[in-house]
Structures are given as structure tokens and as C-alpha cells.
């Protein structure tokens, strides 16, 4: 899986903290105030920068309607995994302390434009948004509750893929989430998937690509394998726009690229069309 690809990307300083705000996509420089004013949207190329799950929820759910669920469902260290840097448990406990989140997806019920929905938002700052057993469990439970309460499901993905520290059981979450979404659809409910920057590996190859409607944001990275892995396989340099939102739209895997300012309204509109 490819989430390490991202780790090595040389965007060490968040644009809003640097002397110059530098767009990670087009490398244009801006005064930090300008970047901030643009709400992490590059004024030059339109790239929609990464935001936390909480910020995304605030942009999406009607004010005061979001009720978080399954916060108690967290990681499980089934393998007692250790690598060169130490124990997985220590690493993820530190992540929990740092981010205040207990898994890579925040799930809750809410209203979007007045429509009752189940909303899940992934947070890339939590272990690279990796899909662990806790993440998969939250999504499966969300589907089951959504069926019970007749709510459509909206998931914003941001992930490097499966969480290898949880071994085979992280892989199995691809099956678990896809099966749960299959049941949700069979129950006559809509699933809207928003693939935000970046959505790759085991997450793009499971629930993120299964939307009745697949949406993304300008210039988001979406793909299965990592760019370097592919370049090493085909022995060729890939074009810059490879695996971009625009590339996926052109190849038929995305319904629409929606700008962040229009996202909530577009989701609400789709939910209205996809209701009985």
C-alpha cells in the first residue's frame, strides 16, 4: 500500500505556519494571511488543502446538529506489532494524545441542508488516515445504524490506505466496509463518497470508490498504487496530472469535482435527489 509515498513528500511545513505559504501542488507562494483568508484553497491553482475532520464537519453539517457516535471504538493491537521505531501501541497512543481523536474517522449523525444523514470524516493527521480495525468497525456500525434509522451515508475520505501495523485484519476492513456499504445500498439508501486529498491504497480500493455518487475536490490525489511504485514498474515518468481529481474525472471514476465552497450545497442536493 502506498501511504509511505506521502510521508516522504517534502511538505514539511504547513502552509499557514511558514513565512511564505507554499501551495503543495503548484508551489506558488503567498503571504500567510492570504492563504489563511482563502481557507486553505490555493488562490493560484485551486488545490483544496487538507483540513481536520472537525473542520470538515463544521463545513458540512448544519450548525449544532452533529452528534458523534462510536468514539469508544478505537484501535486494537491484535498483532502486538513492533517495528524499527518501537511498538505500534506507543505510536498510536501518542497520536491519540496529539490529535484528540481516537480513530482515523470521526462518525456521527447530523443534518446536511436539513436532511438527516450519517456523516463520517477521515482525518489524515491520524496515522495518515490509515484504515485500521477501529476505522472499519466505525464504518460498519455507521452503515448498520443508517439502515436502522433510514439515513443516507456521507463519507469524506483522506487516507494513505490500510494500516499495516494491524496486519491482515486491516486488510479485512476493506472487505468489511465494502460489505456494509453493499447492505446499505441494498436497503435503498444512498451513499455519497467524497474523496479528498489524498485518497489512495486500500481506502480508494474499498469504501471510497463505492459511492452512488463519487465527488472530489480540485487537484486532489486519488489512486491505488503509489506514483513511485508505478514508475518503477513501467520504467517511465508519469505525467504531473496522473492520479489527480481531474484525471479521474476524465477516466470516468468521479461524478463531479466540486469546489469546497459549493460542497455542502451539492451534497444536500444529491441527498434530496436520492431520497424517496
Amino acid at each position: 500500500m502506498s501511504w509511505f509515498e506521502k510521508k516522504k513528500e517534502k511538505v514539511a511545513i504547513a502552509p499557514e505556519k511558514a513565512i511564505w505559504a507554499v501551495c503543495p501542488k503548484c508551489a506558488s507562494r503567498f503571504a500567510p494571511e492570504e492563504w489563511k483568508k482563502a481557507s486553505s484553497i490555493c488562490p493560484k491553482c485551486g488545490y483544496a488543502g487538507r483540513v481536520s475532520a472537525r473542520a470538515r464537519i463544521a463545513m458540512t453539517a448544519d450548525e449544532g446538529t452533529f452528534k458523534e457516535v462510536f468514539r469508544e471504538v478505537s484501535y486494537s493491537d491484535h498483532l502486538k506489532f513492533r517495528d524499527a521505531a518501537g511498538a505500534y501501541r506507543d505510536k498510536i497512543e501518542a497520536t491519540i494524545r496529539k490529535t484528540g481523536e481516537t480513530e482515523s474517522i470521526v462518525m456521527g449523525t447530523c443534518e446536511i441542508g436539513g436532511i438527516r444523514a450519517m456523516l463520517g470524516v477521515m482525518d489524515f493527521s491520524f496515522m495518515g488516515g490509515s484504515l485500521g480495525t477501529g476505522t472499519g468497525e466505525r464504518i460498519a456500525r455507521a452503515c448498520e445504524q443508517a439502515i436502522e434509522e433510514r439515513r443516507p451515508l456521507v463519507i469524506f475520505s483522506a487516507s494513505g490506505g490500510a494500516r499495516m501495523h494491524e496486519g491482515i485484519l486491516s486488510l479485512m476492513q476493506m472487505a468489511k466496509t465494502s460489505a456494509a456499504i453493499g447492505r446499505l445500498k441494498e436497503a435503498g439508501l444512498a451513499y455519497i463518497s467524497v474523496l479528498t486529498d489524498p485518497t489512495t491504497g486500500g481506502v480508494s480500493a474499498s469504501y471510497a470508490m463505492l459511492g452512488d455518487i463519487n465527488i472530489t475536490e480540485p487537484r486532489a490525489l486519488i489512486g491505488f498504487a503509489g506514483r513511485r511504485v508505478i514508475e518503477n514498474t513501467i520504467h517511465q515518468k508519469l505525467p504531473d496530472d496522473f492520479q489527480s481529481a481531474e484525471y479521474l474525472l476524465e477516466h470516468g471514476f468521479i461524478d463531479r469535482i466540486v469546489e469546497r465552497k459549493d460542497m455542502k450545497a451539492f451534497i444536500a442536493k444529491m441527498l434530496r435527489y436520492l431520497s424517496r
Partner: protein
């Protein structure tokens, strides 16, 4: 190699080497030994016929089944033609097409999993590798006919899982099944690809490990020294396990079958605290 006499106490890395042994029986070897008849069917009806993932109707123990399997090839030319068992989206879409046909006639599906992973190529991305795998996972979870899975060699991540969602998951004794290759994991978490043996150990990828984690149902014993030493004996054990699984699933109402399959998938890594 330590596998001459016994394969009982092999390290995870030794199993990886056995699982990748070029002389290990592959899909076509198994079919020739397990089935009395096999009629291959080609193509996804969209783009191409993926040689890395083969399928067709077969007869096993007098029963009609649909078989699907990763195809690796025996020599360099065959390896190249089969893309070393790394399927394109076309392969997964062919698998779904054929399985849908099997469902219409209540024919059980038997899959043989043996792949380093889904093909990481530019055309694979352009045709939607992620979408094809995702769709396959959803599709097999809902399929209204029995699905028996046999992990025969390398279970390489999403490319393996795409045809490994089923009612009964069997795994050969020296097969491995992992979220990432040991080399890939070592490169990331150890920053050193040569630490693959350590990564293999940490990832818990052997049949024994997977059974205790609940990711596979049964381990199929291999002949002394490994399946590559005796294809006929290996195939005999696989055939016996497939027949037992088919027996168990025969006559189960389709709705009940899908409900049970969901419960099974749902239980993978179930959270309990």
C-alpha cells in the same frame, strides 16, 4: 532450505519463500489435478481478457463449479504473458462477470488466490484498479451463491482480497497472506528493504497466524517439504477441503447464505474493549 524434512517449524520468511517457489503448483496445475473438466471463459466484455486472472466452468467431484484464479505461469514467457499473476482491473471485472453468471444458475464459485498484488501500472490506474477491487469486495459480499476461497500461494493485499471474500476461506499450510509485502513493509517501517524477514514475522502472515486471528477458516496440510515437492498430494488435500466446504454450503438458502457471509466478514477484527 530448511524445508527438506519438515515444514512444521518454519519462520514466516521461510514460508514466504515457499509460497513464492516457482515450482509450487499454480492455478492451472491445481485445476488439472482437482477438476475432471475445465472450460476456460475469457474477457470482461469491456476492455480485454486479463491473462493474470483466469476463470471458467469446471467439474469437481461430479459437481458444477465456477473456478477463478490468479495465473502466474511456469516460465519467463508464461510469467510475462500472465503479468506474474498481477491482475489488471479487467481481471477483477471478468471475475465478477463470470461469478454473476454462476449465481444465475446457482453454481458455487471456487477461487484460487496466488498473487503478489494487483498490478501497479499506469493503464491499471487509468482503468480504475481501485474501483475494480472495491466493487469486487462489495460484489462478492452480496453474491447469492456459495463462494469457497483457497489461498494457495501468495495472498498479496487488495489484489488477493478482491477474489478472497467468501463463505469458507481455506489456506494452504505454506501460503502467506498479507496487507503488504514484507519487503514493502520493511522499506517503510524499517527504512530498509533487507529487513523483510523481520517484517514478515511482525505482520503475522502465515496460515497458523491467520487462523488464530480469525482471518481464515481452515488450514490445508501440504506434503512433506511443501506443495512444490508433490503437486498430486497437495492437490488431493485441496480437493478434499473444497469438497467438504461445498458439502457444508450446499442447500443453504441464498438469503441465509449472504446473511451468514456478512456476519463472517463483519467479525474480522471485531472491536471488543
Amino acid at each position: 532450505m530448511a524445508s527438506e524434512k519438515t515444514t512444521k517449524n518454519l519462520s514466516a520468511w521461510e514460508r514466504v519463500k515457499l509460497a513464492r517457489d516457482p515450482n509450487r503448483p499454480h492455478f492451472r496445475d491445481f485445476i488439472a489435478l482437482v477438476a475432471s473438466d475445465f472450460e476456460e471463459l475469457h474477457g470482461d466484455r469491456l476492455v480485454s481478457d486479463d491473462k493474470a486472472l483466469a476463470g471458467g466452468f469446471a467439474t469437481i467431484d461430479g459437481r458444477k463449479v465456477l473456478v477463478l484464479g490468479h495465473n502466474k505461469g511456469k516460465n519467463v514467457e508464461e510469467n510475462m504473458a500472465a503479468n506474474f499473476g498481477m491482475a489488471n482491473p479487467d481481471g477483477y471485472r471478468k471475475a465478477m462477470r463470470l461469478a454473476k453468471l454462476a449465481e444465475r444458475f446457482s453454481i458455487p464459485v471456487v477461487t484460487f488466490v496466488d498473487t503478489p498484488g494487483a498490478y501497479p501500472g499506469d493503464t491499471a490506474e487509468a482503468r480504475g484498479q481501485a474501483e475494480a477491487i472495491a466493487k469486487s469486495l462489495e460484489f462478492f459480499s452480496l453474491l447469492k451463491t456459495p463462494v469457497v476461497v483457497v489461498i494457495t500461494g501468495e495472498g498479496g493485499s487488495g489484489g488477493a482480497l478482491a477474489i478472497a471474500v467468501g463463505d469458507k476461506v481455506l489456506m494452504m499450510e505454506n501460503a502467506v497472506y498479507s496487507v503488504i509485502s514484507p519487503e514493502g513493509c520493511a522499506g517503510i517501517l524499517w527504512r530498509d528493504g533487507s529487513k523483510a524477514p523481520e517484517a514478515a514475522e511482525a505482520l503475522k502472515i502465515t496460515a497458523q497466524d491467520l487462523k488464530s486471528l480469525g482471518a481464515v477458516d481452515e488450514i490445508v496440510k501440504e506434503p512433506a517439504g511443501g506443495a512444490q515437492k508433490n503437486h498430486a498430494a497437495a492437490a488431493k488435500a485441496v480437493k478434499k477441503a473444497i469438497i467438504a466446504a461445498l458439502d457444508e454450503l450446499e442447500g443453504v438458502d441464498a438469503e441465509e447464505l449472504v446473511a451468514r457471509r456478512y456476519e463472517k466478514i463483519r467479525s474480522y477484527g471485531r472491536f471488543s474493549k
